[in-house]
């Protein structure tokens, strides 16, 4: 009996040792894991709970239900904000992808001072949506700003970019497209990975530069295009800075992106419940968009390790 106990004890010791050996790596990521749980997972879960309540920062919770979700779909202001966000995403994402790929393609050529240009084109991404950029943007787009002054020189009377609800969103969109640096760098890395012999073969077959680009370059970098598409889509739906610092959502809510509305609801009206519900609807939309992107990839994304599938 004592012998079998000792054996069992030994076995348990070995199992524990094995467990620690196998999971020793978790120790290294523990700081991140703790941070993730406290600053991401907990707020994430609690926001789901609050989305079913009328939680007000100063009045607490008094009722539970689906009312916040009902109001998301029945409040004209919220629906308009979602509509503005969709427009924003569908304008900025394609434009940013095309523009960053175009610039990356040019910067992939062996031209003098290319490192300077690469740095210069990346600067807008570093500047981001800061107060200084807001000042710059207003100076460019105000009624008597640089753009309208320039248009005036060629006899065109520019519109009121900042105060006309039909144009204000484009000003915000342009700020995002202007910050194309990170997408450009990723494209540049992908372009460098395209084998030169494929271009040589295509040239031998008589393909010109455009044909080479569309028949060789683009198919080979589709995984990176896909990656940029997903990340840009996620970022576009969560955009906040541009609308907050330049237009504050105006004029007439024409630039009230959903993130800004969530912020206003949470920190100006203190209505955390409604803000949480809007955030969760946004999350579901984001997941759906990402899911669609993933589902679509089998039709257009080429992975070289999958026999072309």
């Amino acid at each position: 009996m004592a012998k079998s106990d000792a054996a069992a004890g030994e076995k348990q010791k070995v199992t524990l040792k094995k467990f620690f050996k196998n999971n020793f790596g978790f120790l290294f990521i523990l700081p991140w894991l703790i941070g993730f749980c406290i600053f991401k997972l907990y707020p994430f879960a609690s926001s789901l709970y609050y989305s079913f309540t009328d939680y007000n920062l100063f009045k607490g919770v008094s009722k539970f239900g689906l009312f916040n979700y009902e109001s998301v779909f029945h409040t004209a202001k919220i629906m308009k904000s979602f509509s503005v966000t969709f427009r924003y995403a569908f304008i900025t994402v394609p434009l940013k992808l095309v523009f960053s790929l175009f610039i990356a393609y040019i910067l992939n050529f062996k031209i003098r001072g290319v490192n300077f240009f690469r740095t210069a084109y990346y600067i807008p991404s570093i500047l981001g949506g800061s107060v200084a950029i807001a000042v710059l943007w207003k100076a460019v787009f105000r009624d008597e700003g640089l753009l309208n002054t320039a248009l005036g020189f060629i006899g065109i009377q520019g519109p009121s970019w900042l105060s006309d609800p039909h144009y204000a969103l484009y000003v915000i969109c342009l700020l995002r497209v202007w910050q194309f640096g990170s997408a450009m760098i990723i494209f540049l890395a992908a372009l460098k990975g395209v084998p030169m012999d494929l271009y040589e073969a295509a040239a031998l077959d008589g393909a010109g530069k455009w044909r080479q680009f569309f028949s060789v370059t683009v198919p080979l970098i589709t995984p990176v295009i896909f990656y940029n598409l997903v990340t840009q889509l996620v970022q576009a739906f969560q955009e906040f800075n541009g609308a907050y610092i330049i237009t504050q959502g105006g004029p007439r809510n024409s630039t009230t992106l959903i993130s800004l509305l969530i912020y206003n609801s949470a920190f100006k009206s203190y209505n955390m419940g409604a803000a949480s519900a809007m955030a969760w609807v946004l999350f579901v939309i984001l997941m759906a968009m990402t899911g669609i992107a993933f589902a679509s990839q089998k039709h257009w994304v080429y992975y070289s390790d999958e026999d072309g599938k």
């Binding site: 800061s130 105060s163 990340t231 996620v234 970022q235 999350f283």
Partner: protein, 469 residues
């Protein structure tokens, strides 16, 4: 392959949630960045001149300068404002340390975004011991009476007899003195006399003269010139002033809106008429100027907008923003709007002690120094407006430290305006850029609402806030 796809989807999910965090961080960061600004004053401007310019929050939206926080004092304190107020307050805290041995750490920034961060601190009971507060915060954040100390309990240390009872009553809720008022304020007109001279007319002293000035400006100076420029919240206050002048009732009394739809519609049409008759520019025109506030608007600076309707405490700020050579004058309250003395006064700002403060007596002693002591009030001068503390006022008057423009504006407002506002008037659901006032006056100005729809929207919005409080 399936595992790879699952991993990819899993990573995307993680990334999406992670980026949600980034998004929020960016939001907060940006909010802070914008909140953190204050371009207030020309360097070298006198303390008292700048001072009052930032006395009222509405007059100082979207200024730029970082939130500064220090730690480790015996007490901590928070305030918002412009550079000169920051400097004077820090100087006063240093002097207080020398006098009492009490070290005060602090946190300060500009108004824009300040309320958001203070709201978060009050809701999580992490606010500093002593706070400069906006009057409506007593009702907004201390609705349950658990955020601010009853200052009657520290009256042995803080001399409340220096304050008129009527002012203390304004900061009293359910028998508890939640804060001590620093200054009182109200709205008044300010004019750029130089532009009026150019148009060949004198600055308006009545509504009739102002309305006539619109036409004169258009004819003599051109379409870009307006005798008055007012934003959404200014329009709301002017409308209420008009209605009070005409009907002699407070906007809200005992939790009820005192005006019916027809009267509100009349008020909105009054404002809209000013716009159609070229007295004020449309909100689209002002937004198209691309300026954060009127004092930073080229058209005000250079005289194309020749008047504003602002807090009495904002006189110096608007005066100092005018181009050199343009003469700034404090206007008069219009007596021809109606038979009553329309316009309200309110507590501009107050000091409150948080209930989380470990030593309220020590905090009260600090307030006594800042509000009533000769040395403290001399250093702070009119940084927070014309003080209502009798001791402070007497000291500043004796030392000739009262800014003449602010003092003149304050006297005119206090002598004439005879109405009070309900604290919910400044509720963020109504007053913020996302609020009802912006929606109503924006809708009217942009032509999205007719006056009847706008009136109904305003009444519904006000009643919603009133019923929630």
């Amino acid at each position: 392959m399936k595992a790879k796809k699952l991993l990819a989807i899993g990573m995307t999910l993680l990334m999406t949630t992670g980026m949600a965090g980034c998004g929020n961080a960016a939001a907060g960061g940006s909010a802070a960045a914008t909140a953190q600004s204050d371009t207030t004053t020309a360097a070298g401007a006198s303390v008292s001149a700048d001072a009052a310019s930032t006395a009222a929050p509405a007059a100082e939206a979207k200024e730029e300068n970082p939130i500064i926080t220090t730690t480790g004092g015996d007490l901590n304190m928070s305030w918002w404002g412009g550079d000169s107020r920051h400097e004077a307050t820090m100087k006063a805290l240093d002097a207080y340390k020398a006098k009492s041995g009490v070290t005060v750490s602090y946190s300060y920034g500009a108004w824009s975004g300040w309320e958001d961060s203070m709201a978060a601190m009050f809701s999580t009971n992490t606010a500093p011991d002593v706070n400069q507060i906006n009057w409506n915060w007593i009702y907004q954040y201390d609705a349950a009476g658990d955020k601010f100390v009853d200052l009657n309990t520290v009256a042995d240390t803080l001399d409340l007899t220096q304050f008129d009872q009527k002012y203390l009553d304004m900061c009293t809720k359910d028998g508890k003195l939640a804060a001590v008022p620093i200054s009182m304020t109200g709205r008044i007109f300010y004019w750029d006399k130089t532009t009026f001279d150019k148009a060949g007319i004198s600055t308006p002293t009545s509504l009739a003269e102002l309305e006539a000035a619109g036409k004169t400006f258009k004819e003599k100076l051109g379409d870009d010139y307006y005798p008055l420029a007012i934003g959404e919240y200014d329009r709301m206050i002017l409308m209420v002033t008009y209605l009070e002048s005409k009907y002699g009732k407070n906007w809200v009394e005992e939790g009820k809106l005192q005006y019916d739809e027809k009267q509100v519609q009349e008020g909105l049409e009054f404002i809209q008429k000013l716009e159609t008759e070229h007295v004020i520019p449309s909100l689209a025109t002002i937004a198209g100027d691309g300026a954060d506030s009127i004092d930073k608007n080229d058209k005000w600076i250079n005289g194309k907008y020749a008047g504003i309707y602002e807090w009495d405490s904002a006189a110096s700020k608007y005066k100092s923003s005018l181009a050199e050579g343009n003469e700034f004058v404090v206007g008069d309250e219009f007596k021809d709007m109606g038979k009553y003395q329309g316009g309200f006064t309110k507590v501009s700002m107050a000091f409150a002690i948080s209930t989380t403060c470990k030593d309220p007596e020590k905090a009260a002693a600090l307030l006594q120094y800042l509000l009533n002591d000769d040395e403290g009030t001399t250093i702070l001068a009119t940084e927070r407006g014309i003080p209502v503390s009798k001791a402070a006022y007497a000291n500043l008057e004796k030392q000739n430290l009262l800014d003449p423009d602010v003092a003149e504006a304050n006297k005119k407002v206090m002598d004439y305006n005879s109405f009070q506002i309900d604290p919910t008037f400044e509720a963020s659901e109504l007053k913020s850029t996302d609020g009802v006032y912006y929606d109503v006056f924006g809708g009217l100005s942009y032509g999205d609402y007719d006056s009847a729809t706008a009136a109904q929207t305003l009444i519904d919005g006000v009643n919603t806030v009133l019923s929630a409080n």
